[in-house]
Each structure stands twice: as structure tokens, then as C-alpha cells.
């Protein structure tokens, strides 16, 4: 085998191995995370809303079923308008506060380890766990990274 051909074969195998390993790790992470969150039939969590004008509402120890998504639980306590896209639900308004060109409802979770983390996926794809804290923040989205909740 010529050296050039050998180099490209090695490169192809290297990319395949790395991408396959990362994809496996991703699904293992999803599985472990979902398994952890759906072990209890009833969960209690904290859900907050920040309207971006100084008004903050908290629903502490809200009861929900294990496996309920953030959108399910948000709709239990607030009036939500959303649109379903291929990537999941896009929240247009909460309690009649509508997204604009520069402001939108972004969700965050709180952990001791990371502090505030922006939701990585659509709210209807994210199952909340027992004692988890989720927060809807009506915030400026004209520049990335978005500012963390106050």
C-alpha cells in the first residue's frame, strides 16, 4: 500500500473511531440521565419565572410525575403558548409575555457544580428530576452568550 493511501485510510479510521466513541458516550449519558430521573413515580421540583422587569415568581416543591418534561410542568403552573418544530417545542409566550426580536424566554437549570446552565435542548425534550431547579428567564437574546439569571 502506498504511503499516501495508507495515510488516508488511517485518517478515515481515526475519524470513524472518534465520532463513534463520542456518539456512544452521548447516548450513554442520555440513558443514565433519564434512568436517574425516572426512578421515582412522583417528584418535587422548583420552578421559577423571571419576567425581566424585576418580577420573579417561584413555584417551590411543585409536584409532578417522574418523566414529565419541563414544558409539561411549566404548563401546569402557567399559561404557555408554544410551537412544535422538528427540534422540539419553541416557547412563544409565558403568561401572555411574548417573545420579541430581542427578548425571549430561555430556560436554565441550577446545580451546585455548574451554577446556572442554559437548557441544552427544547423544553419538551427535557425530563426534570427530583429536587431539580428550573428557571424561565425572559431575557435579551441579541448577543451570545446569554446572560445568566441574576
Amino acid at each position: 500500500m502506498k504511503r499516501r493511501t495508507f495515510t488516508f485510510v488511517v485518517l478515515a479510521l481515526l475519524v470513524w473511531a472518534l465520532v463513534a466513541s463520542l456518539t456512544s458516550a452521548y447516548y450513554f449519558y442520555l440513558y443514565s440521565n433519564l434512568f436517574q430521573k425516572t426512578r421515582k413515580p412522583i417528584i418535587h421540583l422548583n420552578l421559577g419565572f423571571n419576567y425581566g422587569n424585576g418580577t420573579v415568581q417561584w413555584f417551590n416543591q411543585t409536584e409532578a410525575r417522574g418523566g414529565d418534561t419541563l414544558l409539561d410542568i411549566t404548563m401546569q403552573v402557567a399559561k404557555v403558548n408554544h410551537t412544535i418544530f422538528s427540534y422540539g417545542a419553541f416557547v412563544n409566550s409565558i403568561n401572555n409575555v411574548n417573545n420579541t426580536a430581542s427578548k425571549a424566554w430561555i430556560w436554565w437549570t441550577w446545580t451546585q457544580q455548574f451554577g446556572w446552565s442554559q437548557g441544552p435542548i427544547a423544553s419538551d425534550r427535557y425530563a426534570l428530576g427530583d429536587d431539580e431547579t428550573a428557571y424561565w428567564y425572559y431575557q435579551d437574546v441579541s448577543a451570545w452568550p446569554y446572560s445568566t439569571p441574576p
Binding site: 488516508f8 478515515a12 475519524v15 456518539t23 452521548y26 451554577g115 437574546v141
Partner: protein
């Protein structure tokens, strides 16, 4: 054209900038390829249909300039042999993986900023895993795009330029 294509709306998992930057590198050399890659990502940082790049901009510029540089280093003769299609497909996959690893580093830096208590290395591993599906999507699409498109683009541009 590369800049225009980058800032137009496109479906997730598909982008043409890497292919055009790579092809520019093959024809005009590493310096111009790298410069185009960095310029496109600089403009993209402000006009992208997916929002502002912010802190990730320098990482995107670095990643795309590497694609242009490798294009300049790649030796593709004018005969259009089938092996060039295979080689560019492999390079498309490799360079896309490198690009996403670098831009993921940008997200990891952001994730590791205070008040986060995790280290940059931990953040990098997490971000690589969280972003695995995007990396997979773009790696597959760019393998096909480079494998099918790089040879005809380079040959056509060479003919037009009389090289």
C-alpha cells in the same frame, strides 16, 4: 460567495463554507484559504441565521482557517482521478471533526467560567459528548459534500482561471 452562503439560512447539519474554503485553499494556497476561512467566520459571527457567535468567534475563525490551510497543503492534480474523490471525502470528515473539536473548546471555556466549579478539561469532555450528534451530522454531510463536490469545484475553478 462563501460569506453569502454562510450567512444564508440553511438546514441544520448542512454547510458549504468548509468545502468552499478548502477548495479555495487548494487553488490559491494556504494563506488565502486560511484568510478566507477566518474572514467568513468573522462575518458569520455577526450575521449568522443561528445567532451571534460571541465568545466562540475566535474558535470558529481558527477552525475554518485550518480547513483553508490544509486545502493549500493538499496536492490535487488536474486529472480528476477517482482517488481524489475518496481522499477529499476523508479530509472532509477529518477537518469537520477538527473544526467542531475546536469550536467545542470555545463552549467549554464558557462553561468553565465562574461560578462553575468544573475544570476546563471536564467542561471539554462534557461539551464534546453533548455536541456529539451535531459533530456526527456535520461529519457525515461534509464527507459527502467534499467527496462529491471538491474535485469538480477545484477543476472548474482551475479551468476558469486558466491554471
Amino acid at each position: 460567495m462563501g460569506t453569502g452562503l454562510q450567512v444564508l439560512w440553511r438546514p441544520p447539519g448542512l454547510e458549504f463554507t468548509s468545502l468552499l474554503t478548502f477548495s479555495t485553499g487548494v487553488i490559491f494556497g494556504s494563506v488565502l484559504g486560511a484568510s478566507l476561512g477566518a474572514f467568513v467566520m468573522f462575518v458569520n459571527a455577526f450575521l449568522s441565521p443561528w445567532g451571534l457567535a460571541g465568545l466562540n468567534m475566535p474558535f470558529q475563525m481558527l477552525g475554518m482557517s485550518i480547513i483553508g490551510t490544509v486545502g493549500g497543503l493538499y496536492k490535487m492534480e488536474n486529472d480528476g482521478k477517482a482517488r481524489f474523490h475518496a481522499e477529499t471525502a476523508v479530509l472532509g470528515a477529518f477537518l469537520t471533526f477538527v473544526y467542531y473539536s475546536i469550536t467545542n473548546l470555545g463552549f467549554a471555556v464558557y462553561l468553565a467560567l465562574p461560578p462553575s466549579s468544573i475544570t476546563l478539561l471536564e467542561a471539554l469532555v462534557l461539551v464534546q459528548v453533548w455536541g456529539a450528534i451535531f459533530t456526527l451530522l456535520y461529519t457525515v454531510s461534509n464527507t459527502l459534500l467534499f467527496g462529491i463536490g471538491a474535485v469538480p469545484i477545484v477543476n472548474t475553478m482551475r479551468k476558469l482561471l486558466g491554471r
